[in-house]
């Protein structure tokens, strides 16, 4: 495709393109505005989430480009555009000391949630005005977007377009985070104060990403503010935790540190005096990010650090339960301009996840521990020509995985593996004409377990049919080597396992087609259809014999699964004005099939959801901000009971007079539809001369007791089904101060 592009003749209409960068960090300034003027012509565009912009269909002439970004200096460039030329203009904007009203940032940043096909971006400001459970959670807010679900009110695991949480790659500044949850999944480990933008690639993601069958969640650390007059900070309190964020200038660049910790300990300690079973529990997390310009601002060095930990201990008469889990991650990245058309970067990163559970019950001890470490090096080069933008990179990752299961002082299972993963990718974004763009890519992977080499082609085609209507088609092949073993209600025991040569890696083939219509600055509409085929899926075999010591993945998992997910998503967004918000609708089907599950028949996984509606509304009234978010979806699939029967325990000969419950076909029943309305109101004010804000949030405003799961009790003469409900209405209050 690159070769074809180079051979292609000149196009008739001209194109202005380039990238808007932060001068200090050289990070792209997502959603910067670019205004183009000539003697008789004026138009403008909003850059994408990476700061790239393209203006097509321009006649030859002299143009003035003006680049704006809130909180940054404005830059102007003059460009002479020839007939059919493509002129590339990259600019770096310097941070400005001008204080901007938060409301203005909010209004601008609300403009583009869906920028590209199957790609959704939420900025920090957008996340913070959405209703939240206690405090803003970057992952939980994604459930308000079409195609994204969580399994329950207490889960922050993402189910994207029919894929499970294991099929979404979660990155923080390009570093994989393996268990981003606190409090068993109730909250994510991402502190909203420390997060800049969150981009979710729901499907058909580009070649620069890999390793998961479904989607990618790319979380960017917040850059420190560019003010040059010292250190700034935010202090926040919610019902969950206390938070402190600081940022300031350093060596011509910026740094930011954010930390939070639960403060329930004194309360739990008091409660424990009367009820010893009340657990000791806390969590904390710390985020750091710094950028330092080098080579006269032609390059920059960025450093990211992340630390999150949960600790639980419960002692009771018959024993104790102790559990700790946490992540540590860090990265150093150097990025530099290598010439007019070249940009290069090198990054080193490491990520560690460790989980440990110790239990003692009636003098019988058991423990489970899991460690997962990766060290990665990533080299990337980007070249931008007249009609091509080519990005290529190499990524080498070394993993260290260990798992140990000890029961009754006996080591039942001890796994220890050190696989290596070498990936190379190339992406070419080719503007064939001013209206047609093709982005083709290839990712090639070598995985040391089984000495496998895999090829993953990717393709995306965009056609700007008119000024306001665009059509897009994308697809690709994907593989997954790391398998997550997770229990929905207890994410603290999450476990990642690398596959070995006894099984094939999971495969998916994704296709997405979409149309966007932007009739005005105020409104945007889109429709997408997606289809995913899944092969060689595996699920943990929790029906195997206990204490088995085989280290082969084929002995630990049920293998050879198939699946598919297909559906359509409709999205409408009101971007500007006092009233803003969006409405999304998803119609979807998801199915799975394993030889050893459901007698080999197809079944709907529990997160199969036929209909899903997401509505968000936000109203700005001066210092007051009102928000509402509503979710409505088909009830989750569950396995209902079909009969009761009696059989003796073959090892004791005991016949349970209450009988046993016979399950029907897997997930052949449905819980009631899920719906929920969340509300929030926030007010900005001045406290001792500093900006501050309080917020009042109401989770599940009309206290819909959504169904969670069903249990069948056989103690009565007739079987009694009992439905466990999800969370009721929960109001919370929060306050934050900036200084």
């Amino acid at each position: 495709m690159v070769l074809l592009g180079l051979l292609a003749g000149p196009v008739q209409a001209g194109v202005l393109a380039g990238r808007v960068l932060d001068q200090a960090s050289q990070d792209g300034l997502g959603f910067a505005s670019v205004v183009v003027e000539s003697a008789d012509f004026r138009t403008g565009v909003i850059a994408d989430e990476t700061g790239r912009y393209t203006i097509r269909d321009l006649p030859a002439g002299l143009y003035t480009l003006t680049f704006h970004y809130i909180g940054y200096s404005t830059e102007e460039r003059t460009v002479l555009l020839g007939q059919g030329d493509r002129a590339v203009t990259n600019v770096s904007l310097a941070g400005s000391a001008i204080e901007m009203e938060t409301v203005e940032v909010t209004a601008r940043r609300f403009e583009k949630v869906q920028e590209e096909l199957s790609t959704l971006t939420l900025t920090q400001d957008q996340m913070k005005i959405l209703p939240a459970f206690g405090e803003t959670d970057p992952i939980r807010t994604l459930q308000f977007l079409p195609g994204v679900q969580t399994a329950s009110d207490i889960s922050s695991g993402l189910y994207v377009r029919g894929g499970g949480p294991d099929q979404t790659l979660i990155l923080l500044d390009q570093i994989p985070i393996y268990n981003p949850t606190h409090a068993f999944g109730l909250f994510s480990t991402f502190n909203a104060d420390a997060v800049g933008d969150v981009t979710l690639y729901k499907g058909a993601y580009p070649a620069r990403y890999g390793g998961r069958l479904g989607s990618v969640l790319d979380v960017q650390s917040r850059n420190g503010r560019s003010d040059k007059d010292g250190v700034h900070g935010t202090v926040g309190l919610s019902v969950i935790s206390g938070r402190l964020s600081l940022d300031g200038p350093a060596a011509g660049g910026r740094w930011a540190v954010s930390a939070r910790r639960t403060y329930l300990d004194p309360v739990l300690n008091q409660l424990r005096k009367s009820t010893p079973e009340i657990p000791e529990y806390y969590f904390y997390d710390v985020n750091t990010h710094a950028t330092i310009p080098t080579r006269g601002r032609a390059g920059n060095l960025s450093v990211t650090g992340f630390l999150a930990q949960d600790d639980l201990f419960t002692e009771f008469d018959a024993g104790f339960v102790g559990q700790r889990w946490g992540n540590q991650a860090g990265a150093v990245k150097y990025q530099t301009i290598l010439g007019d058309s070249w940009l290069g970067s090198v990054a080193f990163s490491g990520s560690r996840y460790h989980g440990e559970t110790e239990v003692e019950f009636f003098n019988t001890a058991a423990s489970f521990s899991n460690g997962f470490v990766d060290f990665a090096t990533r080299l990337e080069l980007e070249w931008e020509g007249t009609s091509h933008r080519v990005t290529s990179g190499v990524e080498a990752t070394a993993y260290q995985f260990d798992y140990e299961e000890v029961f009754n002082r006996e080591t039942n299972l001890k796994l220890d593996r050190s696989p290596r993963d070498l990936s190379w990718f190339v992406e070419d974004s080719w503007d064939i004409t001013s209206r047609w763009t093709v982005t083709d890519g290839l990712r090639m992977r070598y995985f040391s377990e089984g000495d496998r080499v895999l090829y993953e082609p990717r393709l995306a085609i965009e056609w700007a049919a008119t000024e306001t209507v665009g059509l897009q088609l994308a697809g690709g092949a994907y593989h997954q080597y790391l398998q997550l073993i997770s229990t929905e209600g207890f994410s603290g025991a999450d476990l990642y396992v690398p596959l070995d040569d006894s099984v094939d890696p999971g495969r998916s083939y994704q296709t997405v087609a979409g149309v966007t219509w932007d009739p005005s600055e105020d409104w945007g509409f889109s429709a997408e259809a997606y289809g995913t085929l899944l092969r060689d899926l595996i699920v943990v075999d929790d029906e195997g014999a206990g204490g088995q010591t085989s280290q082969r993945i084929a002995d630990v998992f049920k293998t050879g699964g198939k699946g598919y997910a297909t559906g359509i998503e409709l999205f409408a967004q009101k971007r500007t004005g006092r009233w803003k918000g969006w409405l999304g609708y998803t119609l979807g089907w998801t199915r799975r099939k394993f030889d050893d599950v459901n007698e080999g028949k197809w079944f709907a996984p529990k997160y199969d959801r036929r209909h899903d509606i997401n509505a968000v509304a936000n109203y700005d009234a001066g210092p007051w901000t009102y928000s509402a978010a509503f979710l409505l979806g088909t009830g989750q699939a569950f396995t209902p009971a079909a009969a009761r029967y009696g059989i003796r325990n073959p090892a004791t000969g005991v016949y349970d007079e209450e009988g046993l419950v016979l399950a029907s076909e897997k997930n052949s029943g449905r819980l009631l539809p899920y719906h929920r309305l969340d509300l929030s109101v926030a007010k900005r004010f001045q406290a001792w001369g500093y900006p501050a804000q309080w917020s009042f949030q109401v989770f599940n405003a009309y206290s819909r007791r959504n169904e969670w799961f069903v249990q069948y009790n056989t103690e009565d003469p007739t079987v009694e089904p009992e439905v466990a409900k999800q969370l009721p209405i929960i109001p919370t209050l929060g306050v934050s101060f900036d200084f």
Partner: protein
């Protein structure tokens, strides 16, 4: 806002709030009933005579369940060799439980042999199943390890050598929770093992601290427990102390399982030490699934195992 918009908003709000109720009829949470399915229950033990066979039917969930009420009587039951030779004929059901006992000669079950059961009900329903019995299985050593599980402190006497006198042998009089009890054996080629623990006393005292149990919990403490299926890849099995609640004479049986028995207990948590467990459906885990039955024309178990056992006397914990 116009009055029509207000009315519309009011109607929408009413509809939403009306939808808040999540109460529904219990029967809505049942699948179409599987009642009336024949349930076969028979396990062959290598070197033991052929066992009784139990026949019953599954019942509707919203009907009272009693063992007598679901028993199947009047069926023709026979066990054949793999070649089709009739080995054991069964007499008509006796008692309320649908139990069929062997009629006439009753040979012992052979190891590594295929057996087929054939049931024809009075209504003409045919139920069949096949089992391949495992090889003979024998524990070579029953030992008591130190608390760290590293050194052998005592090798226990066996029932095989001493009979009932095993309970009086000092080696087999073990204080509760002292060390770790381990069985060592040559592992036969079976998919898994299951351990059954039976307290032979009728009213011995608890050896666990009774103060930690509620009255309701105390009533639920069984004298007969079983383990989940265990791989025992290292040809050892350790007895967890949490499987013992009562002092006195205690018997441990280790079953080497055939595929049918293994598949049923691995997919039926209630049959592996969790009798009366609540079955979960819905989205908290996926533990509630249909068990794997190897029965044609019905459900249940026609399985086999070879077994070895030993016994000891549990003394109160030494404080």
């Amino acid at each position: 806002m116009t009055s029509s918009l207000r009315r519309g908003a009011l109607v929408a709000l009413t509809l939403i709030l009306a939808g808040c109720s999540t109460d529904r009829e219990p029967g809505d949470l049942f699948a179409p009933s599987n009642e009336g399915t024949i349930v076969l229950d028979a396990v062959l033990i290598v070197d033991a005579p052929f066992p009784s066979v139990y026949l019953s039917r599954s019942a509707a969930l919203d009907e009272d369940f009693t063992r007598d009420g679901v028993a199947v009587r009047g069926a023709d039951v026979r066990i054949e060799s793999g070649g089709g030779e009739i080995l054991v004929r069964y007499a008509d059901a006796i008692g309320p439980a649908g139990r069929y006992d062997p009629a006439g000669p009753n040979p012992s079950v052979l190891p590594e042999t295929e057996y087929r059961i054939r049931v024809m009900t009075a209504d003409g329903e045919l139920v069949t199943a096949v089992t391949q019995t495992p090889a003979r299985f024998q524990v070579t050593d029953w030992v008591q390890l130190d608390a760290r599980g590293e050194a052998v402190q005592e090798t226990l006497a066996t029932v095989r050598d001493l009979g009932d006198a095993v309970f009086d042998d000092p080696r087999n009089r073990i204080p509760y929770a002292e060390g770790l009890l381990e069985a060592r054996f040559d592992r036969p080629d079976v998919p898994a093992f299951q351990v059954g623990v039976v307290n032979l006393e009728e009213d011995s005292d608890l050896v666990v601290d009774s103060s930690i149990f509620s009255e309701e919990d105390l009533q639920d403490l069984d004298r007969q427990l079983s383990s989940p299926p265990l791989a025992a890849d290292a040809a050892t099995l350790r007895l967890p102390w949490f499987a013992i609640f009562y002092g006195g004479r205690t018997m441990v049986r280790i079953f080497a399982l055939d595929e049918n028995w293994y598949d049923l207990v691995r997919t039926s948590p209630e049959l592996s030490g969790q009798a009366g467990a609540v079955a979960f459906g819905g989205n908290l885990g996926d533990a509630f699934d249909r068990p794997v039955f190897h029965v044609q024309g019905g459900i249940g178990l026609f399985g086999s195992a070879s077994v070895d056992s030993n016994a000891f006397f549990v003394l109160p914990e030494e404080k």
